[in-house]
């Protein structure tokens, strides 16, 4: 029986970066080479080069395929006060003109 190496995940690579300052430094200088050296594929490299939306999409695809981690995929939550917060009582309505 042939064992198949699990596919490397971009999200796992990011966690490695978080704990390895020298790897993070190398990645900052040359993301493409560092990703290749870490065994990530062309699609993942293209995602990083494509910008935040492409990375998010790639990471979400990885996590969707993991039953234990797909719960982490949520809409971005903007903790904004917005304009719906009243800060003073409403003025009483003006009486109608007679």
């Amino acid at each position: 029986m042939t064992s198949v190496a699990p596919e490397r995940r971009l999200s796992d690579f990011f966690l490695r970066l978080a704990d390895d300052p020298s790897l993070l430094e190398a990645y900052g200088r040359d993301p493409q080479t560092t990703l290749t050296s870490a065994g990530l594929g062309d699609a993942q490299i293209d995602a990083v080069l494509g910008g935040p939306d492409a990375v998010r999409s790639a990471v979400e695809t990885e996590l969707t395929n993991d039953s234990a981690l797909r719960r982490l995929i949520t809409a971005p939550r903007m903790s904004t006060e917005g304009g719906d917060e009243p800060d003073e009582p409403d003025e009483p309505d003006e009486p109608d003109e007679p």
């Binding site: 999200s11 970066l17 978080a18 080069l49 990375v55 949520t74 971005p76 904004t80 917005g82 719906d84």
Partner: protein, 269 residues
């Protein structure tokens, strides 16, 4: 020496530390925030992307999300009250709690401030640690120095409905333009039309030709930020994404007031 209750354990005293992940939780989480997450009995988080959630859960397996309090049409005010209650309740029960928010926990993040105030009012220790905000990323990536001609920054809906006085020389930064006018937990298609109204307002303040930038810091290391430069009068300007910040860079510093300058010189001795 304090007294030990007879026949019982000393009740545990809860505490709260509110931290932010920075915009990019991989490279911007500070050592002090990391320590607070790792050392907490309970970690409660509200984050904007799954990599940040993975990182927080890797640092403390007891971490859990507060995202379930949000609903697409549920009023944010109600969600915030529940989030604050969950955080404060855990502290009151005696846990050392770390609340983890996206970006800077004190910028555009009402629940963090309210939780700190509530815990302190209950006589328990609470602190908030500084972190990297979208504004910090903007300064670095757009080359804006807030001290060159001044800076005005507002939450976009606040700016639109309250119409604060604007200094046309200063840089204007409007946060959360992708949630303009939204009271619920998610952006709707109405934001695009509201954004046009906002641009019309800005044209009235700055003119058609003034440059504006829709900016989105990258939450992922190695991925470039989204930077879209356009003239305020550009009818084809794209709508903001939920994470976008709008920046109108400062221009033409105001003239020096000679009387004010002379007053400074005279007071120099």
């Amino acid at each position: 020496m304090g007294e030990t209750p007879v026949g019982g354990e000393v009740p545990r005293r809860g505490s709260l530390t509110v931290v932010g992940t920075g915009i990019d939780a991989v490279s911007q989480l500070t050592p002090s925030a990391r320590g607070a997450i790792e050392g907490a009995d309970e970690v409660l988080y509200l984050l904007a992307d799954p990599v940040a959630a993975l990182r927080v859960e890797a640092l403390n397996p007891r971490a859990r999300s507060l995202d379930h309090f949000y609903g697409p049409t549920k009023a944010r005010r109600e969600t915030y009250a529940e989030v604050v209650e969950a955080i404060v309740g855990a502290v009151i029960r005696g846990s050392c709690v770390c609340a983890v928010l996206y970006g800077h926990p004190g910028v555009s993040a009402l629940p963090g401030h309210r939780a700190v105030a509530r815990v302190r009012a209950a006589g328990l220790p609470a602190r908030m640690l500084p972190a990297v905000s979208a504004l910090d990323c903007l300064f670095a990536e757009l080359g804006v120095d807030p001290t060159t001609s001044g800076l005005q920054t507002y939450e976009a809906t606040y700016f639109f409905v309250r119409r604060p006085a604007v200094d046309p020389h200063a840089t204007l930064v409007l946060l959360q333009v992708g949630m303009l006018g939204e009271a619920g937990g998610a952006a709707t298609e109405a934001v695009a039309a509201r954004f046009r109204l906002l641009l019309d307002r800005l044209v009235g303040l700055y003119g058609l030709a003034r440059e504006a930038i829709l900016y989105e810091a990258s939450p992922y290391p190695g991925a470039a930020p989204a930077v879209d430069r356009f003239a305020l009068g550009d009818a084809e300007a794209r709508a903001p994404s939920v994470m976008s910040t709008l920046c109108v860079p400062g221009q033409d510093r105001p003239p020096v007031d000679p009387d004010a300058r002379r007053a400074l010189e005279l007071s120099g001795g």
